[in-house]
């Protein structure tokens, strides 16, 4: 009889101890997709009560999902637009935490002899003013710009800073400039890498971490803001020492509603462990080195 009672108690307590795992949804930037997957996998090992679900598609997808309340955290690789800030601040306080830095890389086919590019030339290529590699000292080959769809944060960042020449200052900034409508539009980074790797005349832009993952399949161009500046390769070191001048922040955006799973993830991503994973993904960490506070119990 005693054994039966003990058995029943054990069964009941084990049923109650089996807590349901909590889902944590992250969506947005393709640039941040692989990096956040890496961070979230390690997070799930340490915080076993959560099941992270990471989806790409573009920064705009993440922001829209966050506004609609169907994702917990938006991954965003560009500055938020004023109207997005307003929408996100409607119900609760918006939080925007920078977890890393990227150097947006300009990439071409691996056999392209061109080594470097500056902002002015890049703008002329992507708007369609320069149409053939021959004009830049390359082969007699039509230039085929490959751009991301309208959901892309990288696409919007590149358009604003390079195509519209915002980085050259107010005098040169042309907010009406746009991508050549003949450009090939792709949905994600995998498609972009495949397209550039298989098209001899292709040129595109991509986060330096994602470009690094593509390896020798594509070629990174040295970049300078002005023709007279030294052309620099996008790398963690060059973004850190401020030499590469097409750097941007990678943000985790969320509504500050004191949701435990979100707060735990933000702390993990900005901790030493999370920041090392950001570096491992090919991006520059954002947080300073961890400060250790030790005491005797």
């Amino acid at each position: 009889m005693k054994i039966k009672i003990i058995f029943i108690i054990l069964v009941i307590s084990s049923i109650f101890s089996c807590k349901k795992k909590e889902a944590l949804s992250l969506a947005g930037s393709e640039t941040m997709h692989e990096m956040i997957l890496l961070v979230s996998n390690e997070f799930a090992k340490e915080y076993t009560e959560y099941v992270p679900d990471v989806r790409g598609g573009g920064s705009r997808i993440g922001i829209t999902a966050l506004i609609a309340g169907i994702t917990d955290i938006a991954m965003v690789s560009r500055d938020l637009k004023p109207e997005e800030v307003l929408d996100l601040n409607k119900d609760s306080n918006l939080e925007e935490i920078i977890i890393g830095y990227d150097g947006a890389a300009i990439v071409v086919h691996s056999t392209n002899p061109i080594q470097k590019i500056n902002l002015e030339i890049a703008s002329d290529i992507f708007t369609g003013k320069i149409k053939n590699w021959k004009e830049l000292g390359g082969e007699d080959l039509p230039i085929e710009p490959v751009i991301r769809n309208k959901n892309s944060g990288t696409g919007l960042f590149f358009k604003e800073h390079v195509v519209q020449k915002k980085d050259l200052g107010e005098k040169y900034y042309n907010p009406n400039a746009d991508y050549n409508p003949q450009s090939i539009v792709v949905d994600d980074n995998i498609e972009l890498i495949n397209r550039v790797a298989s098209t001899k005349g292709a040129i595109s832009y991509i986060g330096m971490g994602s470009a690094g993952q593509a390896g020798s399949r594509i070629k990174l161009l040295l970049y300078s803001k002005k023709e007279t500046d030294e052309p620099i390769l996008p790398s963690i070191e060059n973004v850190f020492n401020r030499k590469y001048r097409l750097a941007r922040g990678l943000y985790l955006v969320y509504k500050n509603e004191n949701k435990k799973s979100v707060d735990e993830f933000i702390s993990f991503a900005t901790s030493e462990k999370g920041q090392l994973l950001v570096s491992k993904s090919g991006y520059l960490r954002s947080a300073l080195e961890e400060v250790q506070v030790k005491a005797n119990q």
Binding site: I97, I98, E264, S271, E272, V291, Q292, Q297
Partner: protein
């Protein structure tokens, strides 16, 4: 018929009051239990639900915070009070200063994006410490501070982001970083205000 307990009492002896009570309880065990339980429950209900006194709750607050210097209390029901969530709000000099936010805070740049130099900590020996309570409770873990360093090198704002460790550790870290001094970020030869993240790990031996 005579009960067994009655037989234990020697004849002719007057029963003591104690014995009488014992006998009474013995006979009316169930009734006595219910009566005692009812009295206890009534007692709990009486002391628990203290009748509400018809006094202004604001008066209580005034008394409670009277010792604090320069504190004023706003009644949210007052006509000229701004609409809020109905809670009574305390405002003191410090809070007024926080409301009038330094414009440099909202304009803080990111050094790595703008191309500015990184700020340098000029007071590295000034570090957060464990609070007695956190140590006693065995609290460990990492918290992250977001700090805004002004063009003058002072820390304009420090706040904790993400999860909270509690037991005064956030407050301790924030107050320590507010006292720190930095060499500011420099962009094109000019000092600028920047924002940085600092993870702080608390561990016990």
């Amino acid at each position: 018929m005579v009960s067994s307990t009655e037989t234990e009492v020697p004849k002719g002896k007057k029963r003591s009051l104690r014995n009488k009570i014992h006998r009474f309880i013995e006979r009316n065990r169930l009734n006595a239990g219910i009566t005692i339980s009812t009295f206890i429950q009534l007692g709990i209900l009486f002391f628990w639900q203290t009748p509400e006194l018809d006094v202004n709750k604001l008066d209580h607050l005034v008394e409670e915070v009277a010792f604090i210097d320069s504190v004023s209390i706003k009644d949210p029901n007052m006509a000229d009070a701004p609409p809020d969530d109905g809670e009574v709000e305390l405002t003191d000099k410090k809070k007024v200063q926080e409301i009038k936010e330094d414009p440099r805070i909202s304009g803080a740049e990111d050094a790595a994006i703008s191309g500015a130099t990184a700020p340098i900590d000029l007071s590295p020996s000034l570090r957060p410490e464990y609070t007695d309570q956190a140590r006693a409770e065995g609290i460990t873990g990492t918290l992250t501070l977001e700090i805004i360093i002004a063009d003058s090198g002072e820390v304009l704002q420090a706040r904790s982001v993400g999860r909270k460790l509690g037991f005064g550790l956030e407050e301790q870290a924030v107050s320590t970083y507010r006292r720190k001094k930095f060499a500011p970020s420099i962009l094109d030869g000019k000092a600028i205000t920047v924002k940085v993240l600092v993870p702080i790990r608390f561990s016990l031996n």
